[in-house]
Structures are given as structure tokens and as C-alpha cells.
């Protein structure tokens, strides 16, 4: 007899990635010939000492348990439960977490399912192996300027700028932009989660030749001889220009601290006020360097863009968690309810029910004349937010209030919590 675990009704190993948000799984028995009585099984982490750790939720509980007992019928009928990563116990390699199913009476191991607690981490804390996998996937996706990174570069330009900046859609648009790139990188190496540059803390290991490069005296980056980013090409020209305006080995960028940023929305946590973060720390982080990253039309030429924006997105996620801002119908969570054209609505692309360019592929004015890169990259973990998402689909990214909207990413310092009973 053996036991099988299926993630999200998808039997493929490609579905075996979890974050902090609980994912529905199905456990069932197989090869039960001869058995007649239901079997009581116990699920637990195979190795509680190292690797990513998960916890288990039955539909009756909202509290994760390190071990859980279930009775499984010999008919092979699946039992439903949910699995989530244990906060701050992420994986560092693919499959370094594993769920073991044992027969509760005989202690016989009926099955082991490897998985990954895949979490977006502070880039300054990555292991060398995590860092190198990320750089390799990024360089592969750019492929010396011949790859699809060029589509991402061509989206974030003067023409695309009004879709992404200067209004309520700034945060959701960039959340989707990051997710699109992360999914493309995961198609190359599924163990990758987008790292973030915590710009309000020194990140000496990030600004090295082995990671995001060190500028020479006139600002062109230099890399170590084994770093695949040395072959970075955009717009037909090799190299990245990023002169520094602060000491990257000892200082942080001259930006608001995390705490000051989280207070931008005020004590009553209003999105409309919180989105001031588009100026400081977001814009200020961009202009803490010279070079590509300090101007909108060239910022994406420098892949540090995505680590910077992962941190902006993390700040939003942390604000959402701390102040419980997941209810899309609340103007505290997102003020521009409705769609473009409604009385008082914002520019198209910045209202809750608007689709977002370029993923909607709309190229009629006022949208830009081209929409590089097609629709959003799909994920084997979830169908959210859809291939041509509306702004509103990017808000409850953990599925706190509506589990199907879970987008399949989490940050190392932003937990998942069930909505407070009120």
C-alpha cells in the first residue's frame, strides 16, 4: 500500500511549490489490494531539522499543525486538506521540503512527497547557490540581448509609463510586471523566487562582482569572470551603467525606512495616502544611483530594477498584512473602485475593474501603440490573476479573503494570516 499527495488537483511535480498561504492538497491511498478497513495515517515533515518546513490545516482548523492524522478509505477516495510553509522556515533548494505519510498504527512509511517552500527573499541573505541560480536564469532569459527580456525592457518606456505610474495603478501594475518576469524565470528554473533589494538597509553582498556588479570609476558595471550577468545586453549594447551615489558596502540608499514607509498611509491606513511611496522610497531608490535605473525609459535595462520593485511590492504586501487591507471592495484597500469612464474614475488602467496594458494586448488610444510580450505568463500553481488581469486581481495576492485569487508568491518577512474574526 502507498499514499499519494496531489497539489491543487494537479498531479505534476510542477505543482509542488507552496508559500505561506495554504494550498489545497488531496491525500489518497493506492495499491490497497486486500485491505478492507480505512487506514489512519499521519502526515509530517520528513526532516523537521532542516530544509523547508510545512504545516497542515484541515477545513475545521485555521491553525497550522506540524502533524496531522487522517483516516483514508481503501477505495482511494482522496481526503482534502491544506498545506502551507511554516513562516520563516523557507526552502533554499528545490525539493528540500518533504511530506511523509506514515501508517499511524504500524509506522510504515506509505509515501514521501518532496516539495519546495518557495519564498521571495532578501537578496542580501541568499546563499551562493540561490544567487547563482537566479543570475543564471536571468542571463538565460536575456540570452545576450536576443531573449525575451527585451519585451520587458520595451514595456517600461515613455509610451508605457502612464499605464504604470503616477496613479493608483502603480502598485498593482508593478506587482504584475514582477510576477510576469518571475514566472518566466521559473519556467527556466522552478526553484527561483524573485529576490528583493531592501534599499533601507545596507546590502553589501548584493553590490559585488558575483551578484549585481560593481561600477568602474565612470559607472559601467564590472562583474566577476564567472558571473553570467557580464554578458548582459539590452538595446544591442552590452553592459549596464549604474554609478553609485551612496556607499553600497556600508550604507543604505537615502530613502525612508520601512517603518516610515508603512506609516505613509496614516494611522487609519488609507491606500490613497500610502501610495505616496511612489515618490519616497520608490523614486528615491531609483535615483540613489545614476545610470539606467535612474530614468523611467531606461530603468529596466538594469535588472536591479526588478529587485528594487520586489522591495516596493514587499512594502505594499507588508502594509496590507499589518493593516489587513485585502478587501478589494473597500476604498481603504483600493480607492479607485469601478472602471475608467465612470464618474470620478482615474485614467484607464488605474481603476479596480480596468484591465492592464500590455497584458490585455490593447493598443488603441489612450493605450500605447504596441503591447510587447503578450499576455501574462501562466503558472502551474494557480490560474490567478488571469492572463489579461484586471487591477483588482492583483490585490488579495495571498487569497486571504478569496483563496482562488492567491497569486503564488510570498515574502520572507510577510506572513499569511486568516482574516480576523470580527
Amino acid at each position: 500500500m502507498r499514499s499519494e499527495i496531489t497539489f491543487n488537483s494537479n498531479a505534476s511535480p510542477a505543482a509542488r511549490y507552496v508559500g505561506w498561504a495554504p494550498v489545497p492538497v488531496q491525500v489518497q491511498l493506492a495499491d490497497t489490494t486486500g485491505a478492507t478497513d480505512p487506514v489512519t495515517v499521519r502526515l509530517r515533515n520528513q526532516n523537521a531539522a532542516q530544509g523547508g518546513q510545512v504545516e497542515f490545516f484541515t477545513s475545521a482548523t485555521n491553525t497550522g499543525q506540524a502533524e496531522i492524522e487522517l483516516s483514508l478509505p481503501v477505495t482511494g477516495e482522496p481526503a482534502d486538506l491544506r498545506i502551507a510553509g511554516v513562516f520563516q522556515r523557507p526552502s533554499s533548494a528545490d525539493g528540500d521540503a518533504a511530506v511523509e505519510v506514515v501508517d499511524a498504527n504500524t509506522s510504515e512509511v506509505l509515501g514521501v512527497t518532496p516539495l519546495m517552500v518557495r519564498i521571495r527573499k532578501n537578496a542580501a541573505t541568499l546563499s551562493d547557490a540561490e544567487r547563482d541560480r537566479f543570475l543564471t536564469a536571468l542571463a538565460t532569459f536575456n540570452d545576450r540581448g536576443r531573449g525575451r527580456y527585451g519585451d520587458f525592457r520595451n514595456v517600461h518606456t515613455e509610451a508605457g509609463s502612464p499605464e504604470a505610474h503616477g496613479s493608483t495603478g502603480f502598485l498593482p501594475w508593478h506587482r504584475n510586471f514582477l510576477l510576469d518576469l518571475e514566472r518566466e524565470l521559473q519556467a527556466i528554473d522552478p526553484s527561483i523566487a524573485m529576490p528583493y533589494w531592501r534599499f533601507d538597509q545596507p546590502a553589501p553582498s548584493l553590490f559585488t562582482g558575483d551578484f549585481m556588479g560593481v561600477p568602474n570609476p565612470h559607472g559601467t558595471l564590472q562583474f566577476s569572470a564567472v558571473n553570467p550577468l557580464q554578458f548582459w545586453v539590452t538595446d544591442g549594447t552590452p553592459g549596464i551603467v549604474r554609478p553609485v551615489r551612496f556607499n553600497t558596502q556600508t550604507q543604505h540608499a537615502n530613502v525612508f525606512s520601512e517603518a516610515s514607509t508603512l506609516l505613509l498611509g496614516g494611522q487609519d491606513a488609507q491606500y490613497e495616502a500610502f501610495r505616496q511611496l511612489e515618490g519616497n522610497p520608490h523614486g528615491t531608490a531609483h535615483t540613489s544611483f545614476g545610470g539606467s535605473i535612474s530614468s523611467i525609459p531606461t530603468a529596466v535595462k538594469d535588472p536591479l530594477f526588478f529587485l528594487l520593485h520586489a522591495n516596493v511590492d514587499r512594502l505594499w504586501a507588508k502594509w496590507q498584512w499589518h493593516f489587513q487591507r485585502f478587501d478589494v471592495e473597500s476604498t481603504d484597500t483600493f480607492p479607485a473602485q469601478g472602471k475608467a469612464g465612470d464618474p470620478g474614475a482615474n485614467r484607464v488602467g488605474h481603476n479596480l475593474d480596468d484591465t492592464m496594458w500590455p497584458w490585455n494586448q490593447v493598443t488603441t488610444p489612450p493605450r500605447p501603440p504596441t503591447a510587447p510580450g503578450g499576455t501574462l505568463a501562466p503558472s502551474p500553481l494557480t490560474s490567478a490573476p488571469g492572463l489579461s488581469p484586471e487591477v483588482g486581481a492583483l490585490i488579495d495576492y495571498q487569497g486571504v479573503l478569496t483563496p482562488p485569487t492567491r497569486l503564488g508568491f510570498d515574502y520572507d518577512d510577510v506572513p499569511f494570516e486568516f482574516p480576523a474574526a470580527s
Partner: protein, 323 residues
């Protein structure tokens, strides 16, 4: 991790941050002698009085850095509601009588605001016009920032001025390597003859390296890049930049040369490690798997190269392509 406890920790951090002095308090403290009134330290959104005071702080050339930053922050936060504040900032930027470090801080704030400037498109032409007048400023740092921003906007005026400087028709605005780097944001075929001349007759080693970097965009410079890469007497930086350029412009020719560099006993280790890394990530895996001579050589380098980077590169290579 106890999540309720984690939440309490963050709440405590936020409470502490909320007590830090804002613009009003810094302003009150700086006015020594004047009794700070009760409203000085009160938080809350910027009022008209705050904005007037913030602009005055900048116009007075305030030397106190924290107060100056706080003033810029007050203005930056209010720009969404009052785009005309941009004009006040531009005014300080253009006032050559103000200290250069203050004007630089103002320029950085304007550039930070430019990430949101789509919300006030009418202000953009004025901003770019202001930058065009700053490119001749006596302060080198300010000048370079303005040129950089305009170059990234593909501004034709600044491009012409940079070319004029490189051609010697007028005084150079910035060192040649910076001028070349700026032109790289909008590479035109008509720059290539100039860049080739700079490679032959460089004003500085750094300018030569930058010129080689940009020539990757020129298909007809592949021969030149190959010549530079294969010449062992050539400067190391130039060889590495040529390798990267050739890898992009003519991958097959690069791979042939990279293979040669790996096999050659008498080659530079940094270039060898770089060549192995390039082959690891970008060469055709089937061709590599048939290349026994190369595989043998890489196994040998893993065992006995004196260079740590070469050994590291061979390990990545063999992890991906080894048998």
C-alpha cells in the same frame, strides 16, 4: 514564529518611527531664539504654510542637510496635488547663485518626481528645457547628472553637444568615456566611424574601452572586436569588453575564439574563466558534448588550474555539460 508577537513587534517599530521629528519640528529647532510654538511638532499632512516655509528653506540656500531634505520631502509629497511646485524646484535648480550641493539635491528630487511626471505631462517639457541649460553649468556633478538624464531621454541637443566635444569642435562637457557612455543610450550607425577612430586613437584608456563596448552594436565591427580579443598584448579590459561585444554581435565567431582561449596554456586566467562561463551558459550543448578535446581540457583545468575563478567556472561547466 509566533505571528501575533511578530505583529506586536512591528507595531512597536511603527510607533517609534511615528515619533521622529518631521519638517515642522526641524524647522522650529533651526530657528534658534524663536520660541517653537505648540503646533510645530504636530504631525499631519503638509499645509500651505509648510509648503511656503519649505520653498523658503530651499531659496535661502539652507545649509542644514536634514532640514533641507525634509523640505524637499514636503514638496515632493505635495506635488501630486500641486504640480506647480515643480516650477519652484526648477527655479532653485536654475539659480546659479545657490550652492551646487543644494541644486544637486533639488535635481535629484525633480528626477525622483519624474517617475510620476506622467501625471502632469505639461511639466515635462519645462523640466527637459531646464536640464538643457544646466548641461553648461560650472559644477561638474550637476552637469553630468543633467546630461545623463537628457541622454536617457534620447535628447538630440545633448547628443549633438556630446559629439561636438568628442570631435573636438567645442569644449567637451564631460570626459570622453562619459560622453561615449551617454551616447550609448541611443546608438546610431553614424556614431560607428567616430567610435572606431577613438579605438585607434583614444583620448584615454577608459574612453577606448567604452568605445569598444558600443561597437558591439555595429555588425561591421566584428572583425575589429575579434582582433582585439585575440591579441594577447592588448589591455585586459579591452579584451574582455571585446569578448562580450563579439559574443553579442557574432556568437559563433566568439565561441570559436573562446574555445581557443580555454585550450591555450598561455592565456590570461580571467579571460579563460570568462570564456568557460560564456560557453557554459550560451553555447550549443550538443556541440559541446561532442567536443572531447574541450571537455578533457576543462576537466584538467578543474584539477590543476591555479586560478580559483577558472576552477569555479569549470565546475559550473561540468555540472551542466559534463558526462
Amino acid at each position: 514564529m509566533d505571528i501575533p508577537e511578530y505583529r506586536r513587534q512591528l507595531s512597536a517599530e511603527l510607533e517609534q518611527a511615528a515619533g521622529q521629528p518631521g519638517f515642522r519640528e526641524l524647522l522650529a529647532r533651526s530657528r534658534r531664539g524663536a520660541e517653537p510654538h505648540a503646533a510645530a511638532a504636530s504631525p499631519g499632512p503638509a499645509t500651505e504654510d509648510d509648503l511656503t516655509a519649505a520653498i523658503a528653506v530651499l531659496r535661502d540656500g539652507e545649509p542644514d542637510e536634514p532640514l533641507r531634505s525634509a523640505a524637499l520631502q514636503v514638496i515632493s509629497s505635495a506635488v501630486d496635488e500641486q504640480p506647480d511646485l515643480i516650477d519652484a524646484l526648477t527655479g532653485v535648480l536654475l539659480d546659479a547663485a545657490r550652492p551646487a550641493d543644494l541644486r544637486t539635491a533639488v535635481l535629484d528630487t525633480l528626477q525622483q518626481i519624474s517617475f510620476r511626471m506622467v501625471a502632469f505631462p505639461g511639466k515635462r517639457p519645462d523640466y527637459l528645457a531646464a536640464l538643457r541649460s544646466v548641461i553648461d553649468d560650472p559644477d561638474a556633478g550637476l552637469r553630468q547628472r543633467a546630461i545623463g538624464i537628457l541622454a536617457r531621454e534620447k535628447d538630440e541637443y545633448v547628443q549633438r553637444r556630446l559629439i561636438d566635444g568628442l570631435e573636438g569642435r567645442s569644449a567637451a562637457l564631460v570626459p570622453a568615456e562619459k560622453a561615449i557612455q551617454y551616447l550609448g543610450y541611443d546608438i546610431h550607425a553614424e556614431y560607428f566611424p567616430l567610435l572606431r577612430r577613438i579605438v585607434e586613437n583614444p583620448p584615454s584608456p577608459a574612453a577606448r574601452t567604452e568605445a569598444v563596448r558600443l561597437l558591439a552594436a555595429d555588425p561591421s565591427s566584428a572583425d575589429l572586436l575579434l582582433t582585439l580579443l585575440s591579441n594577447k598584448q592588448e589591455n585586459g579590459d579591452v579584451r574582455r569588453v571585446s569578448a562580450i561585444g563579439l559574443q553579442s554581435a557574432a556568437p559563433a565567431r566568439f565561441e570559436e575564439q573562446a574555445r581557443r582561449i580555454v585550450l591555450d596554456d598561455d592565456e590570461d586566467d580571467q579571460l579563460r574563466a570568462m570564456s568557460i562561463t560564456a560557453l557554459t551558459h550560451f553555447a550549443n550543448p550538443e556541440a559541446l558534448s561532442r567536443d572531447d578535446e574541450l571537455t578533457g581540457r576543462i576537466e584538467q583545468l578543474r584539477a590543476d588550474s591555479a586560478s580559483q575563478q577558472v576552477r569555479q567556472a569549470t565546475m559550473s561547466y561540468l555540472a551542466k555539460h559534463g558526462t
